[in-house]
């Protein structure tokens, strides 16, 4: 049953088939904290509805009592970014509460304050449990103890993944320099570097790269040996500091690829911003210092611009869409333009690696926001393994989690400080880019749209440990793999839900998406999913699945008949000479 699992409900209001049962389907370790009757939910689509509100240590649950069919709201508290009282109590003692969610919706409730002033209102309880970190409590993920047949923490084994790429080899070695996160606390323990560079040299390089994030290998082309290398910005500063070890490292990266005598350095930032960073000690590689290297700026804006863009997008799509100015409103958010720039950047990286057989170094400022966006998208274009369900999980574990995308900071798990300027929808933006690619190549990805939405829902839900903390080191320190369940345990235990039936596996198939804005679409089934009018039409997949089932059924019947005929033939072999069985070609099974 879909509703009983740890699923974030995919519609605004869930209809209950059996209204007589009003028990809440609780997860293991989920406890009701408070509930109140006579709460009014001001639904922006169908108007005010009355019902009861329940708060557990995991979710907010509203169940309406005055409508047929009975329906409810069911959302994990992790998805809340702000809960606040709006205005003063009305003459009748009603108080309005606004709930701002991370998943593109705002909820509004009206509730009568309890007459006993000592008793806490259900919303005060809500505020406490919605932001456990701010209230010195632990996230629900640390309490949730469901056991799944699969163990998602075993999905990513760095050595196995690099081995799949054919590493180590004669040019690239494993370095243990960061084994205890001494070189760089936001990097993983396992690093691949050119064999010609010593650990001592790496230490020197680390002082020249922002936050010690040195250039290390992300991916290597199986044929040309062209490599995708990631890093943070160089600490050039205003005086144009140089670091000969860093120069040597980049030269070694270039030399590791015999096919090309050039190296491309992709700086994700707009050149103006990159130059401005020099004032603060940062900067970028000068082409004087790095011979044979060509520097390209990809003009992708920073986390603040992206946050603002998403905020504008929310205004445009929620709750109502202004029909007549929809397109110019959408344009004014710049959201799709940012998507275009990120995809275009990844495309240029993939093109240099695939068509130019050239190694590339990718960085932004710190190398944990725009850099993983670019490297992981380029890797999806280049390597079909990352388009499978498990491959995609490995990609996230590697490029995002192990290389220290600051999930805790960017999402603000359990933190009530909703105005924190470190929050930014960088990961959402990446998933959006992946979705754009799945739209352009509907048969190239093993996973479906629901898989991507599930990842985003549990990015916020705090039910699984996967997206907690800021780095591999922190996750180990907090014993996250030991104390929490991985999202992949849940996903891999019911894979059939996430499989794209149209998927065809082409082993060495490079995807070059079209980045023209004409081919980019707003992801309606994510951003506008709460609007009942925009409910998705029956997907093509449905029809495809039907056809697959139909084919299987027919095949079975054909085989039965063939068997039957064969039996009949055996029993009365001489009667009919030219039996039709032979003329029928065997049914092929290929998808």
């Amino acid at each position: 049953d879909r509703s009983s699992g740890p699923r974030v409900s995919d519609t605004e209001l869930r209809v209950y088939k059996d209204p007589s049962k009003d028990e809440l389907p609780l997860l293991p370790e989920e406890l009701v904290q408070d509930s109140a009757k006579d709460v009014t939910y001001i639904c922006p689509f169908i108007g005010p509805v009355r019902g009861s509100l329940t708060v557990t240590n995991y979710r907010l649950f509203f169940r309406c009592t005055d409508r047929e069919p009975v329906f409810g709201l069911d959302l994990p508290l992790g998805g809340l970014s702000r809960v606040e009282k709006i205005g003063a109590a009305s003459s009748r003692g009603d108080v309005s509460y606004g709930v701002v969610c991370k998943d593109m919706r705002n909820l509004r409730f009206v509730h009568k304050e309890p007459e006993d002033s000592l008793k806490k209102s259900v919303f005060e309880v809500l505020m406490k449990f919605a932001f456990p970190v701010s209230n010195n409590m632990s996230l629900f993920a640390f309490e949730y103890k469901q056991v799944f047949p699969e163990n998602g923490w075993k999905v990513y084994d760095p050595l196995a993944e690099y081995k799949r790429q054919g590493l180590p080899n004669e040019s690239w070695r494993i370095s243990k320099v960061n084994d205890h996160y001494e070189l760089c606390d936001s990097y993983p323990a396992t690093l691949f570097v050119p064999v010609t560079i010593t650990d001592e040299e790496l230490r020197r390089v680390s002082s020249f790269r922002a936050k010690g994030r040195i250039p290390v290998l992300s991916w290597i082309h199986p044929e040309s040996q062209a490599a995708v290398v990631r890093a943070s910005q160089t600490m050039v500063g205003q005086n144009g500091r140089r670091c000969k070890e860093d120069e040597k490292l980049l030269q070694a990266i270039m030399d590791a690829n015999a096919q090309s005598h050039k190296l491309f350095i992709f700086d994700a930032r707009p050149s103006v911003n990159a130059a401005a960073n020099k004032m603060k000690g940062g900067g970028f590689e000068s082409e004087d210092a790095y011979q044979n290297a060509e520097l390209v700026f990809l003009d992708i804006h920073n986390i603040h611009v992206m946050r603002e863009s998403l905020r504008k997008l929310k205004d445009v799509v929620y709750p109502n869409i202004e029909e007549s100015h929809w397109l110019s409103n959408l344009e004014s958010t710049h959201w799709l333009e940012h998507i275009k720039l990120i995809l275009a950047g990844a495309l240029r990286i993939a093109d240099k690696v695939e068509s130019g057989k050239t190694s590339v170094v990718v960085h932004c400022s710190d190398g944990w926001d725009r850099t993983p966006q670019l490297t992981s998208l380029a890797l999806i274009m280049l390597d079909s393994h990352y388009r499978t369900i498990r491959g995609f999980q490995i990609l996230l574990e590697k490029e995002w989690l192990s290389f220290g995308h600051r999930f805790q900071q960017r999402v603000g798990h359990g933190d009530k400080n909703h105005t924190d300027a470190d929050r930014s929808p960088i990961f959402l933006q990446f998933i959006d880019c992946v979705w754009q690619m799945t739209r352009q190549f509907p048969a190239a990805f093993e996973f479906n749209e629901y898989f991507l939405i599930t990842i985003l829902d549990h990015l916020y839900s705090c039910l699984f440990g996967t997206f907690l903390c800021n780095s591999e080191q922190q996750r180990l320190k907090e014993e996250v793999p030991k104390r929490t369940v991985s999202l992949w345990s849940f996903v891999n235990s019911q894979l059939e839900e996430f499989v794209n039936p149209l998927y065809v596996h082409y082993p060495s198939h490079v995807l070059f998406p079209t980045v023209g804005i004409r081919h980019l679409q707003l992801w309606v089934s994510y951003y506008i999913r709460w609007n009942p009018r925009m409910r998705p039409q029956e997907p093509v997949h449905q029809r495809y699945k039907e056809l697959l089932a139909k084919r299987a059924e027919l095949q079975k019947r054909v085989e039965e008949l063939q068997r039957e005929a064969a039996n009949r033939m055996a029993s009365s072999s001489s009667e009919r000479a030219g039996s039709p069985t032979r003329s029928i070609t065997p049914v092929q099974t290929f998808v």
């Binding site: 986390i303 397109l327 980045v515 925009m534 039409q537 039709p580």
Partner: protein, 741 residues
């Protein structure tokens, strides 16, 4: 030297022979029947479209009475491998009626060629924009001055100058029917499977029977004695008396009957607001006649008041199409930046939305209120056709089949006297007042429905795209005339054997003229969910009568019918009718939108039945650009190995496998009598999609030819997003900054 379709050639100019070199000779086999060459030039450089470097191919450019064609000096092999090939024109052919605009480049300056030419001056380059959105660029500087002049003037003359209908290629083409194509004797037998043309009383009777209409067939206009603007045969409310007494004024023409009994009518009527007593009287009689049809209820809607005019439609489309007539990569990436706002400023999607919205409102009257509806317009053959056809597609699943859809186009548009000749401006008349892509607007609306509810339609978007191109094919009679009378008189006059049978032109529905059967497979939607049960009974069972009456609005008329009703109660009836009419339609636009919003939402909550009522979602993101039609020739947006093609081809493969299996089973099932496959179309062979993983998204239209597998890297991204606000210059690690939220 060359025998160029000399049969029936009217004015073959002999001069061409001298300068055509044998290697590039316009081979006789390339000619269509009766195609005549006007002029040619060699060498001409045709620029490769998918390339910024202005490279091209040398060859010969010809202009004939059918097309402009470029024949490359290089032998091309691609042609033979195409699975989707138009038999009448290839990728280097521009049928003359396809030409939309011609530009000449004079000293690096682009000028629109209008036909009035400066003698002795010819451009170095000609750019041809086609109505199917292809863009051709030919360089004239390599050829002899004399030839260049001749070909340029020839093309400009034949494509831009006003011409007479007689010069349209169709008349040379049909003049000499080829021996093989005679009309089948058992026409009646074929009828059932074919598109209904609505050119005979039987067709109309049949349609009335199908929809259980209770109306009267009019045969009085057989010889166009009533009006030349009216169809030959048509159906009117049975309450309407002698038509000759209303001569010169419009009257309601029946379009379709809802299963409840109420019906949709259209009429050519000037706006209601006219304070003309005589006209008002006439209008009231017409309304009464419509109301009489069922339950004494009627609503009228003046479309010219609530929808854009045909000039608005024309202007909007003109702006819109410019975004797709891309001449080079730089233009493409420049226009990509302001894509959404340019799209919005053209207003084209909004016009589509308005038409669909209006159709939904009419559907609501028929389906929910069970009220007769009369839509009016001054001419009665433009927006009336759009709205009535859309209403029928939404309500009647028959019109969502291929044959049903074609019959609908015949019924509402061709037999219904839409002025195709004027609206499409086939003759390049300078007076552009009457030029408007109304039929294309209708196809656009249908496409929106198709993309939203694909399984409900038997035809594919490829079919719609091909149909939108075929409007300009000067070979078919379907879209060539302004009315039924026009068609008949011209075909009679042009007949080679005067006084005997009229000229017979192929209809566009004979798709075999353009495509072989393999290519026609692409017209069928592999997603179509065919109705399995009760294939014969298309209509839903009647609702219980008392229920329906309970749901009637209070203003509905329930007065029992009696003779002399009009005489006794006309005044009160008129008043009530007008009140009702005004209350429903003239209300503020907001309230109408809100009501139909409710109608849509209640429909949406019900389980989706692809063989029942179908409504479009009209919210902003739901109305989209018809990508296949508009983006098919732009290499920058082709997705190699992707796009919906990837899904469709897979579905077609699977479907053909399922059908093969079914066939195997049918053969095996010896115990049962062999049932003939009565479906007319499905011949899905296992199509050879060996390389379906690498098909471009523009398939089956443009092919990326010999292009190395390289991505298209956008240019000019630097200008793309120059943000000037303070956020852009903030540091990433921003804990020190005060938040703006």
């Amino acid at each position: 030297m060359l025998s160029l379709g000399s049969v029936g050639a009217k004015s073959t100019k002999p001069s061409f022979v001298s300068y055509v070199t044998p290697e590039v000779s316009f081979h006789a086999a390339l000619y269509l029947r009766c195609e005549v060459e006007f002029c040619s030039a060699n060498p001409i450089l045709k620029y490769t479209q998918d390339d910024l470097s202005q490279r091209g191919v040398f060859g010969t450019l010809f202009c004939t009475n059918f097309r402009i064609t470029f024949i490359s000096d290089e032998k091309s092999q691609e042609e033979t491998t195409k699975t989707f090939k138009n038999k009448l024109y290839g990728e280097n052919d521009i049928p003359l009626m396809f030409v939309d605009h011609i530009y000449g480049v004079y000293d690096e300056k682009r000028k629109l060629i209008t036909g009035a030419l400066v003698k002795n001056k010819y451009p170095s380059k000609i750019i041809i924009h086609c109505k199917d959105l292809r863009v051709f660029q030919f360089c004239l500087t390599y050829t002899k001055e004399e030839d260049a002049k001749k070909i340029f003037q020839g093309i400009a003359h034949h494509c831009l100058e006003e011409k007479s209908l007689k010069c349209v290629f169709a008349f040379s083409y049909t003049g000499t029917p080829s021996p093989g194509t005679d009309i089948s004797p058992c026409r009646e037998m074929q009828r059932k499977r074919e598109t209904i043309l609505f050119d005979s009383p039987e067709d109309w009777t049949q349609e009335m029977k199908r929809t259980k209409a209770n109306c009267r067939l009019v045969t009085e206009n057989e010889n166009f004695e009533l009006s030349q603007r009216l169809p030959k045969y048509f159906v009117i409310p049975s309450a309407l008396g002698d038509l000759f007494s209303y001569q010169g004024k419009g009257f309601p023409i029946w379009c379709w009957s809802h299963y409840s009994g109420c019906a949709l009518f259209k009429a050519s009527l000037p706006p209601v607001t006219q304070e003309d007593g005589d006209f008002q009287k006439h209008f009231d009689i017409m309304i009464n006649a419509v109301a009489h049809n069922y339950l004494y209820s009627a609503k009228t809607e003046d479309l010219s008041e609530s929808l854009p005019t045909i000039q608005d439609i024309q202007q909007s489309y003109n702006k819109f199409k410019q975004f797709f007539l891309i001449e080079n990569s730089t233009d493409f990436w420049l226009s990509d930046m302001k894509w959404f706002s340019s799209l919005e400023s053209s207003g084209w999607l909004d016009i589509i939305r308005q038409c669909l919205q209006k159709a939904v409102e009419v559907v609501e009257c028929l389906e929910k209120d069970n009220t007769n509806v009369l839509i009016t317009e001054e001419e009665g053959t433009d927006l009336c056709c759009v709205i009535s056809s859309l209403v029928q597609i939404m309500l009647d699943p028959y019109y969502r089949t291929l044959m049903g859809f074609q019959s609908l186009v015949q019924k509402e548009w061709v037999a219904g006297c839409h002025a195709f000749l004027d609206r499409c401006n086939h003759l390049h008349q300078k007076d552009k007042e009457c030029y408007s892509p109304v039929f294309l607007l209708f196809l656009e609306c249908v496409w929106q429905l198709v993309q939203q509810h694909s399984p409900a339609f038997q035809f594919s978007e490829t079919y719609l795209t091909v149909l939108s191109d075929s409007v300009h094919m000067p070979v078919f009679s379907t879209f060539l005339f302004n009315s039924a009378h026009h068609r008949e008189s011209v075909l009679k006059a042009e007949s080679p054997l005067a006084q005997s049978s009229p000229l017979s032109c192929p209809t566009v529905w004979d798709w075999s003229v353009q495509f072989d059967s393999k290519a026609q497979n692409y017209f069928f939607n592999p997603l179509y969910s065919e109705k399995v049960k009760h294939e014969k009974a298309v209509r839903k069972p009647h609702k219980l009568k008392h229920q329906r009456q309970l749901s009637l609005p209070s203003t509905a008329f329930k007065t029992p019918f009696k003779k002399g009703f009009f005489k006794d109660e006309t005044d009160s009836l008129k008043k009530m009718l007008r009140v009702k009419r005004l209350s429903r339609w003239m209300g503020s636009p907001d309230s109408t939108a809100a009501i139909s919003r409710e109608f849509y939402e209640s429909w949406q909550q019900r389980p989706l039945d692809y063989h029942g009522l179908l409504l479009p979602c009209l919210d902003g993101p739901a109305v989209r650009v018809w990508m296949q039609r508009y983006l098919r020739w732009i290499p920058e947006v082709h997705i190699l190995g992707g796009g919906s093609v990837a899904v469709m081809t897979k579905l077609m493969e699977l479907l053909s496998q399922v059908q093969d299996l079914k066939r195997v089973l049918e053969q095996r099932d010896s115990s049962q009598a062999a049932k003939p496959d009565h479906r007319p179309y499905i011949q899905h062979r296992l199509l050879s999609f060996g390389s379906s993983g690498r098909l471009p998204s523009s398939f089956p239209f443009a092919y990326s030819r010999n292009r190395s597998f390289k991505p298209i890297i956008p240019t000019g991204l630097m200008q793309c997003l120059m943000l000037t606000d303070s956020l852009a210059s903030q540091e990433d690690e921003a804990s020190s900054f005060v938040s703006l939220v």
